[in-house]
Structure formats: C-alpha cells, structure tokens
Amino acid sequence: MKKKLLSMALVSAMLVGALSGCGSDDAKKGGGSSGSGGGDTTAEEGKVINIYSWNDEFFKRVNAVYDQVDEVSKDGTVTKLKDGTEIHWIINPNQDGVYQDKLDAALLNQADASDDDKVDIFLAETDYVFKYTDAEADVALPLTDIGINPETDLADQYDFTKVIASDANGVQRASTWQCCPGLLVYRRDIAKDVFGTDDPVKVGEKVKDWDTMKKTAEELKEKGYLALASYADTFRLYGNSISAPWVTQGETVIKVDQKIMDWVADSKEWKDAGYFDDTVKGQWNDDWNKAMGSKSKVFSFFFPAWGIDFTLKPNWDGDDGMWAVTNPPQEYNWGGSYVLACRGTDNPQHVKDIIMAVTGSKDNLLQISKDYLDYTNTVSGMKEAAADSKTYASEFLGGQNTFEYFAPVAEKIQMAPLSAYDQGCVELIQNAFSDYFQGKVDFDKAKANFETAIKERYPDITEVQWPE
C-alpha cells in the first residue's frame, strides 16, 4: 500500500510538472505579484500598476520625469512609487507582432484578471493605435473618464497627435509625449561636391517640392550619387498625408488613396531613372543600413527625430558633423508612441497622473527633449527649443538645432483619420508594389497581389477600390 501511495504521488508529481509549464508562464506574463500587500482591494487604488510596452522608451521617461518615482528595481521590471504602489513593466518586443499578441491576450482576459494583474496602461504605435482607440472595441478609456480634459489639460499638444489619438467619433482616448515630424537628412560632403555648398537653407531650396527634388536627383546622378536609398523611404511622405482613411468606419472596403498611387507612379519613375540605390529593397534590412554608411553613394534619407538617433547614428561609421537636416519636400509624420489608459484599471488616479506627467506637462516634455532628443508634444515648448540653439544643438549634425527645422513641419502636418487596418495596408502595399518597382510583375499583378494579401490579413475586408 505504501508503495502504491508513493507511486501515485510520483505520477501526480510528473503530471503537475508536465502541466505547470503553461500555467506558470502565464502568471509571469501577467506580471502578477500576489506577494506583499496583495489582498488589499478596498475602494482605494490598487497596489500594482501594470504597464505594457515594447521597449524601455516609456519606462525611461516615466522614471525620469514622474515626480512620484521612489526607486527602480535593478532588473528594471519594477518601479516603486513614493506611496508604496509598484509599477510593473511588462515588455514584449514589437517584432513579428509579439507585443500585440501578448497585449491582446491580456486585454481579452482583462475582465477576469485579478486587480493586481489587470492592465492599467499600455502603449501603441501610430500604425496600430486605432485598433485600441476604436470606440467599438472600447478597450482604451476616453481621457475624460480618468479626469483629463484634452481641451484644457492638453491644449498645448499638436493637433494632429490628437487626431491620431481619437476614435472615429473624435473622442480622444490616448496621449503622447512624442511628436514625429520628419525631415530630410543629407550628407554634407556629397552636398558640397555636387552643389558646392552644404548650407541647410540652400540645400532645402533644392528639395522644397517633388519636382525640384527630381531635378536635384538628376544633378546628383550625373555626379554618380543617388538621391535616396529606396522607394520605401518616400512612402511615409505620401502615405501619411492621405486625405481619407484606408477604411471608412463601419465599412469593409479598402479605398486606396490617390496619394498612394502617386507614390507608386513617382517611385517607379525614380527607380527607372536610377535615383534610388538598386541594391536596397525596402527598409529595416542590412542593405538599407549599409546605405547609411560612409562608403554609400546615397545622398539623403527621410527621418523624424527618433530615426536620426536610433537608425542613422548607429549605422554611420564616419565622423560626427557629416550629416545635416533640412526641410522635406512634403511635411509628414512618421511614428509616435501613444499612451492609453486601459478599461478596467484599478488605479485611475495614478494612471491619470502618469499620463499627465509624461505627456501633458511642458516642463517635463522639455526635459525629455533635452535628455532623449525627442521632439516632444508641446507647441509652445518646441517654439522655445527652436529658438534656443545653445541648449539643443546636435553634435551628430554638426551643431545644428534640429528643433528649428522640426517645428515648422510639425505645425503643417495634416493627418487623415486612422482606421484599424492601417498597419496591414501600409505594410502590404509596400510589399506588393516592391515587386512591381523591381520589374518582377506588371502593375495589374501588383494590385492583385495586394488584394490577395490584404484579404488574407483581414478576413473581413470584402473589396479593394483603386482610384480612377
């Protein structure tokens, strides 16, 4: 009998071992700590604030500017506030949709999760923020629900960031500290060689609109240089200034904007004329990174503030001061991380404070601009920064004050309302037409490929309409 009991115990131990694999994993993902001060679930605020993000960007900024921060744990997963509340950081990488998968799973589980496991704040990028601000999905709280009045409290924010952060009814459900107007970044040595000057104002004159820039590209080509790396580099300039959303709210038809077709036509023309680097196909790959190196013949790139810092700088292998910024041929916004308050949060007061501290306080935003070179979401603050060339000079750009160039672009940006299908549309239309630019398929086949791909990605899409 003893033996029997023992073996039963062994078997059950094995079973538990086999099954617990998934269970414990989930608990970790939820960032659940039922440890210290757990059971306290009175009408007061919860003890744990769970923040979902894909990198340490928001983590760093909260720790830097939120005045209630007491200490940050060494492994960077927990921030302790002065009143004893803990912020738990749940960070999953953006690659291959991992972040959204984990976040979606947590959001679908939100109603059943215990208070300490509930998502309180999460972040979303411009390309997919609408998936979460969507009124029908209703996973992000309207800012008014947590006591933020966008019209007064966030009056100093750029209008287009508010458009991005709003649902189809115009209710603002997100807020950002970051504003991502883009500029043209060019190589000074190439400019000197071709135009005889590297002065940003004179170079800006040469790229002030697409027609002028085309002539400039021809000039560069004659000297053996390339105007841009690839057709993907210009996409955001066209793609983020479309006049209507990809999909109108309540419909299941994708309407491809005329601007996108302009991008296709212009890119094909530029590609065939030899203004792009033929070896670079799209962005975020090795060839593209190499095009930013000192051996490359590529004259310019289109980048917002983060692009210069996170992409161009690490790929540049020459001295500082070899690049400069100037106005782009068309104003555009590229990227931006939005902060959303999650429905069902048990810490509304803290959530409000954090969002206000990081996205709604001019002093804090200027601090972020100084420390992290973000172009931040404060109209008046950025005007000051643009005028203050001493504090905001960039060494990498040879002492240029980038804010001087960003500010006018930011003020002119017009964003079309978003739709929940933007991320797939933006990604797949570039993929589909990439084959066309390289001469692998004809125009109609590229269109057909886009239709196939988009219907695979979004099963509810019934039709794709192309402009006449």
């Binding site: 979606d104 998936k131 999905a137 070896t279 490929n449 695979e456 979004y458």
Partner: protein, 316 residues
C-alpha cells in the same frame, strides 16, 4: 484470493506509468487537433481587438480555400522540396555506399559523419538568417564574386525566382543530406555481407552491385526516407519565411503552404487556418498510411506477394 489479485495487478503499473504521456498527449495534442477540425467549419477570426464568431458556416472555408491560390502554394512547396530532395537523395546514396564500402577503407569516417550531420543541428531559422545575410546584394558572396572580378554588378539572388528557390533548396539539401546519409548507411549495413561477397565472386562490378543489390535491398528505407521527407517538405516554413521576410517574394513564388497558413494566423483566422490544416492533415495522413504499408511489409523481395498471387490463381 488476495495473492492472486496481486499478481494480476502488476500489469496495471505499466499503464499507470505510461498514463502521463497519454494524458499530456490528450491535453496538448488531441484536444487542439479536435478543436482545429471543429473550428475549420466556423467563421472565427479577430478584427482588430474584436472577436468575430465563432459562427458555424459549414464547409465554406474549404471552398474558399480551393478558390484561393492554395494550389499555387502547394506547387511552390512541391518545387522547393524537389530542388532540395533530388540532390539530397543522390548525394546521400553516394556517400552512404562509399562509407560502408569495405574496399574503399575511408579514413576518418567518424569525423565525416559528424561533419555532414552538423548542419542539421543548426536551427533552421538561424541558418536562413545566415544565408539571407550572405546572399544579400551587398553581402559577402557578392563582394567575393566582384573582388574576384567574376561579376561587375552585384547579383540580386533574392530578387529572382530562380535565386530564391535555389537558395531554399540548397539550404534544405545542406540541412538534411547528412541525416539521410546516416539512415541509408544503416540500411546498407543491414544487408548481409554474404550477398555482397557472393556477387563479387560472381564477377559483379561496383556499379552493378550498387544498382542490382544495394538499391533493391534498401528500397523500404528509401521509401521511408522519401515519404518522411515529403511530409517534412509539406510543412516547410522557417527557411523560406526567414529568407523572404515572410513575404514569399518575388511575386509569392516562394510562399509555401505553411507560410500561407501563417498569413491567416496574423488575423487569428482560426476557421480558415483550421481548414487549411485539415487539408494538410489529410494529405499527410495518406502519406503516413503509405509509409506504414511499406515499412511494415517484410516482404521486401515480393516473394510473399507472388506466392499469394499464385495461390489465388491456383484457386481459380
């Protein structure tokens, strides 16, 4: 009475000890399998964060799939598999017969066996990543070729159908030929040396020996290799996925069936993905059945079948 029962009870420990496997199989393999089949009859996906369905829609998913480009992707999968499999089986047969040939006496056999098996140990995705970097237009292969003066302009390997498919084939070949070699070696070593000796005494040449003795006698293992490779090929995913960034470029000519399945899973389209899985399941099932028949048939030379046939005829 008690002692008799105890004796009978010994058998049950066996069952109890294999129980964990069956329980975990049931929970982690069987239930998902049943669910996949069930959901293939439903409309069930996510639009943004909203869940649509599950709504029962009969076999609509199956019909939609037949109307889509599924067969084209099946064709792609087959072509990619063939490009890898043909050289793989040829080289493996050659190496296996060399390695076990008593007359050749290859030195350092063990070393070579390890080396040819090594690529199989690398994760397929890491391997694909490596090839992606090596064969990119500004990658090392192009710089070597141009510094040797063989080419003037960099070759766009991944931009052409031929280049992409050959690279996928090459990778599958490199990863699997060692494995196949070792399997075939075992098969050849299983042949009784008497037969080889007898054939040599009868004046059989090396080529003849290979075609008339070795090949027919390893046929069951050869068939097994073929079928398992087809099933593996049906599930080809990581190599083309990573090599083409999940796009199956150019013009979707390197999109395999599982990459197609993966595209549906981006929107958590369990219905459509389930239906596709069921198609794959049926095809793999048929192939498994064939393997089973071949490997469980100890009638390698066909004598039993012949005897049966004779008997049948005799009855008539």
């Amino acid at each position: 009475m008690g002692s008799r029962r105890k004796r009978v009870n010994y058998a049950k420990w066996g069952y109890i000890f294999i129980l964990p496997f069956f329980i975990s199989f049931f929970i982690f393999s069987f239930i998902p399998l049943a669910d996949t089949i069930r959901y293939s009859f439903y409309e069930y996906y996510r639009s943004g964060i909203k869940e649509i369905g599950p709504n029962f829609i009969g076999i609509a998913n199956y019909i939609d799939l037949l109307k889509s480009d599924m067969l084209k992707y099946a064709g792609n999968t087959f072509i990619l598999w063939m490009i890898g499999f043909v050289p793989q089986i040829v080289i493996a047969l050659l190496l296996a017969s060399w390695f076990v040939d008593a007359r050749l006496k290859i030195h350092g056999q063990q070393f070579f066996k390890v080396v040819i098996y090594l690529p199989n140990l690398i994760m397929a995705s890491a391997f694909a990543m490596l090839f992606f970097t090596m064969f990119s237009t500004n990658g090392p292969i192009n710089s070597i070729l141009s510094s040797l003066g063989w080419i003037k302009k960099p070759i766009d390997f991944l931009g052409s159908v031929f280049g992409t498919r050959s690279l996928v084939g090459l990778m599958n070949f490199l990863m699997w030929f060692g494995n196949t070699t070792i399997m075939l070696m075992a098969a050849i070593m299983g042949i009784s040396p008497d037969i080889f000796e007898a054939s040599e005494i009868d004046g059989c040449g090396r080529v003849q020996r290979f075609f008339y003795i070795t090949l027919p006698l390893i046929r069951p293992i050869l068939a097994y290799t073929l079928i398992t490779s087809i099933i593996g090929g049906l599930q080809m995913f990581d190599v083309p996925q990573i090599l083409t960034n999940g796009q199956g470029t150019p013009d979707r000519t390197s999109t395999t069936l599982i990459m197609f399945l993966n595209n549906h899973l981006k929107s958590k389209n369990y219905g459509m993905a389930g239906a596709l899985s069921v198609y794959l399941f049926i095809v793999s099932g048929i192939l498994c059945f064939i393997t089973y028949r071949i490997t469980n048939n100890d009638d390698a030379d066909g004598s039993k079948a012949a005897a049966k046939k004779a008997k049948k005829e005799g009855r008539k």
